[in-house]
């Protein structure tokens, strides 16, 4: 259950499937987009709460 699916970092980056296609580009693009969306939303709200709290003080 806990065996690595890839033998090296470059394999994990390319994610070559048995049909010979590299799916790494698609998977890693989604990972980057999702993490950027979550992170930027957290930053947006944190900054706005801080700004408003300062204003209300």
């Amino acid at each position: 259950m806990f065996n690595f699916a890839f033998n090296s970092l470059s394999e994990a980056f390319l994610m070559q499937s048995q049909n010979g296609q590299n799916h790494g580009f698609f998977v890693w693009s989604v990972v980057v987009i999702v993490f950027l969306c979550i992170l930027s939303t957290f930053i947006f709200y944190k900054i706005n709460i801080k700004k408003l709290s300062k204003k209300l003080k």
Binding site: F4, A5, N19, F26, I33, V34, T41, Y45, I49, K57
Partner: protein
Amino acid sequence: MIKKFIHQFASPKTYIYQVDRAYSYIFYISLVLYLVSIFWGLFLTPEDFVQGNSYRIIYLHVPASFISQSLYIAMAIASAIFLIWKVKLSVYLVRSIAPIGAITTFIALISGSIWGIPTWGTWWAWDARIVSTLILFIMYLGLISLHDSFSNHEKADKFLSILVLVGSVNIPIIKMSVEWWSTLHQPASITISDKPAIDLVMLYPLFGSIVGFAGLVTCLVILSSKLQILRRERNKSWIKNYV
């Protein structure tokens, strides 16, 4: 009695102090769970026999898609509470959830489109599941714009709640679209009544990523609702003590 209970415990002041206490616990537990599940899904699960390695997008796409619909259901419940019991906090929550719902739906659409390229050979199809999800995204944006276009908050809150309830008809359509129509999108892999169509080795990290993502989204809703409360209750005396 229910009305008294709701009004006592659902005041913005009580809410903001309670969520402040819970925020850090929810955030760190969810973050660890989400990261561990994503790592597990990306590196420790075997390749899918049909889709190859592109199926690993499931660990990011499914949580976003599931949560985008769940957030709308939460908005509909909060809207009903506002319309029935006139609880201010519930309409603040409706307005706070809408942008987070838009972001999760955006993630679901984008990740689905990228997944579609290696799987279907196209990034977009006018398919019932995809179109109904796009409608959900437009609805979230529409609800935000509608609420912000009013200068009278009371009117805006009422219109927002009614429209959220009307729009909730889209949720069963999204859910059932893969069964009612012939679609490119695959049917649900996990259902309450049947055995999951996905192997347990792949299912465990999927559950972890859904729960972890739900926790992170809860934290975002907490932040968004805090901002909403600070804006709407700025003239109240307790706000001065809080900030």
